[in-house]
């Protein structure tokens, strides 16, 4: 767990350094005429200092037991949920949003534990239909349509 924490802190430090460098590029201005980078420089510097301090502190504390964490157990969820989201983004311009929604609901339900194909397909169709009725028909929001017209 400490290893994961240290990696996260290193990423945050890199993020803070990037913020500081970009802020200097934008210019800090003067006290009476603050530049675009004025506040972000301050925030980035504070973030850098706090995170570095916390990272150094973590090296001093000896880890007693390797705490188990559930990142590994649930990382599969991250992959499938994010992949489904990316699929919606890529497919919507061609298929509209309703068909990708049907597909991802079916896939997500199947991969996260529902064994029956009948159940997941009914769930997918039902969800897509409800979303269509609520957003397109009742709320009259123009959801993107694909080449099939839905």
């Amino acid at each position: 767990m400490q290893k994961a924490e240290r990696i996260a802190k290193c990423i945050i430090i890199i993020f803070a350094v990037y913020t500081i460098v970009e802020s200097l590029n934008m210019g800090l201005g003067s006290a009476g005429a603050t530049g675009s980078g004025f506040v972000s420089f301050g925030v980035g510097s504070l973030l850098f200092l706090i995170t570095v301090f916390d990272l150094l502190k973590s090296f001093r504390i000896k880890e007693k037991d390797e705490e188990s964490h559930t990142i590994g157990k649930t990382f599969f969820n991250v992959i499938i949920f994010i992949s489904c989201g990316i699929f919606v983004i890529l497919a919507t311009p061609y298929l509209g949003i309703i068909i990708p929604i049907f597909i991802i609901v079916t896939i997500l339900a199947k991969l996260t534990g529902i064994s029956s194909w009948k159940e997941v397909i009914i769930l997918g169709i039902g969800s897509a239909a409800v979303i269509f009725v609520i957003f397109n028909v009742l709320l009259k929001i123009n959801l993107p349509k694909g080449f099939l017209g839905i």
Partner: protein, 507 residues
């Protein structure tokens, strides 16, 4: 006396059958829109606005106001039942609402607490509105950039109440949120910042995709397969009976002080243009955590945690109507749309509205009393239906919730980019949850950041670079002193207790 006479006339207008119907339709639509992730009051108002074109002005504005405060009731439903806030004002409700459902298995009582608090917050706010609207409007006018900056400092002091066990991680999360809030075009100099040459980032990062990703997607991704396939939640019939939905004596005893406090805080924050229900609910939650006897239990699912935010956000929605009606200054996206509707009805919002069209103004005020009560009754009678959502198996629920989050994110500005942004925050939220970084400070900083930066820089320009401006102006100095007291209060209290203990032992 005049005020009471006007109010009675207003209530008589509001209780006409047709106006009650408009209020009911608006309220129910507001609850449903509020419950849908990604759609907030602005979206609900924009969608229903065309329906009001042919209506009488009083009826039209009653329906629109019904949608506005209805969304405050509705946002809490999904926040409590599935941990996904229906709108930005309900984010703070998830902190205790969802744990009260999942850990304490008191979903019905959580919803009941939320509805009761919303009702009390709304009614208190309307009472203050009735008697003090013009005075408070003038007070709001006196807020300039230094006062707004001081108010944001007050908002940031509440972060200490949201950091959980590890304050350092909370401050890191808040600073990251501040950086995210600076993405977009600099409002003072017009320079694009951290946009990576993407046109979609020029307007900055909206709060909604961040909230949906951090709290919605992150939660559903964090559930292990074992937990998801665990026993289906059985909801015993007795737990969704009317009596079980009412907060019990113990709940009331702890909740009523924070409900009253939240109502005042929410109303005052709602009156200030640009501040709104979201900030009000966070400040109220954090303040309640500091003053409550059970402050350490906040975040574990206690009713005070729900009551403080729900009373604040409903009171803020009423407060936001004051600058719109009395000064013609819309305070939020939702009131911009309502003001547009007023103009469409031929009304001129401003001080003269109270004089030229008292029937219209007082009819609206009367409908706020009637509407809050009606929506409360509807919500309470349908809680058992909402709670049945918990009987759905987790894999099915997660899949459907993901679909609604994606569509809700798209509907924000009809842009696929917002779906990508939501996924991005979903990944960040997932790792934050796994590594015990609190997400609330990030979200709060994202909300406060742009006003904080703008007001700071405007103040520095006004004062030619001198920080003394924040202390020379009485209002700003007062707010900063209050912020300092709130930060130092826990430390001072601890010291005081130690000293009194030593004195007792010595004696």
């Amino acid at each position: 006396m005049d005020t009471l006479m006007n109010l009675m006339q207003g209530v008589s207008v509001a209780t006409q059958p047709i106006n009650i119907l408009y209020c009911l339709v608006g309220g129910v639509c507001g609850v449903l829109v509020g419950a849908l992730p990604g759609l907030g009051p602005s979206a609900g108002l924009a969608i229903i606005l065309p329906l009001t074109f042919g209506m009488e002005p009083v009826g039209g504005i009653i329906m629109l106001a019904g949608i506005y405060y209805g969304t405050m009731y509705g946002g809490a439903i999904t926040a409590i039942l599935i941990g996904v806030p229906g709108d930005s004002a309900a984010v703070a409700t998830t902190f205790d609402g969802y744990p009260m459902n999942v850990r304490r298995h008191r979903a019905g009582a959580a919803l009941g607490t939320s509805f009761f608090s919303s009702l009390i917050g709304g009614v208190i706010a309307v009472i203050i509105f009735t008697f003090l609207a013009p005075t408070i409007a003038n007070f709001a006018l006196s807020f300039g950039p230094p006062e707004y900056f001081a108010l944001m400092i007050l908002g940031f002091t509440t972060i200490s109440g949201l950091t959980g066990k590890n304050p350092t991680k909370g401050y890191i999360a808040a600073l990251i949120g501040l950086v995210f809030s600076l993405v977009g075009v600099d409002m003072v100099q017009g320079y694009p910042r951290f946009t990576f040459n993407m046109l979609n980032l020029l307007e900055g990062i909206s709060f909604v995709p961040a909230a949906l990703g951090l709290f919605g997607i992150a939660e559903i991704m964090s559930i292990t397969k074992k937990d998801a396939l665990g026993e289906l939640k059985t909801i015993e019939r007795k737990n969704i009976k009317w009596k079980k939905l009412l907060p019990n004596k113990e709940d009331w005893k702890h909740s009523y002080p924070v409900t009253l406090m939240g109502s005042i805080i929410g109303f005052l924050f709602g009156v200030l243009p640009g501040v709104g229900a979201t900030i009000a609910s966070f400040v109220s939650y954090s303040t309640a955590k500091k003053i409550s006897k059970r402050g350490d239990e906040f975040g574990t699912g206690i009713p005070e945690g729900i009551a403080s935010c729900e009373s604040a956000n409903n009171a803020a929605s009423v407060g936001a109507l004051i600058p719109m009606l009395t000064l013609g200054v819309p305070g939020s996206g939702a009131t911009v749309i309502m003001m547009g509707a007023l103009m469409m009805f031929g009304m001129n919002p401003g001080p003269l509205l109270f004089v030229e069209r008292p029937d219209f103004v007082w009819g609206l005020v009367g409908s706020l009393y009637v509407g809050n009560l009606l929506i409360f009754l509807i919500c309470m009678t349908t809680v058992s239906l909402f709670v049945r959502i918990l009987k759905v198996s987790t894999p099915k629920l997660n899949a459907v919730v993901m679909a609604f989050i994606i569509v809700g994110a798209y509907c924000l500005s009809n842009n696929i980019f917002d779906i990508g942004l939501t996924l991005f925050f979903g990944i960040i939220g997932y790792f934050m949850k796994k590594l015990d970084y609190p997400r609330a400070p990030l979200v709060l900083a994202l909300v406060l950041g742009s006003i904080f930066e703008q007001s700071l820089r405007q103040s520095m320009i006004l004062s030619d670079g001198s920080f003394a401006i924040f202390f020379k102006r009485p209002l700003s100095a007062t707010i900063i002193i209050i912020s300092a007291i709130l930060v130092l209060w826990p430390v001072l209290l601890k010291r005081f207790k130690k000293i009194t203990q030593r004195l007792k032992l010595a004696s």
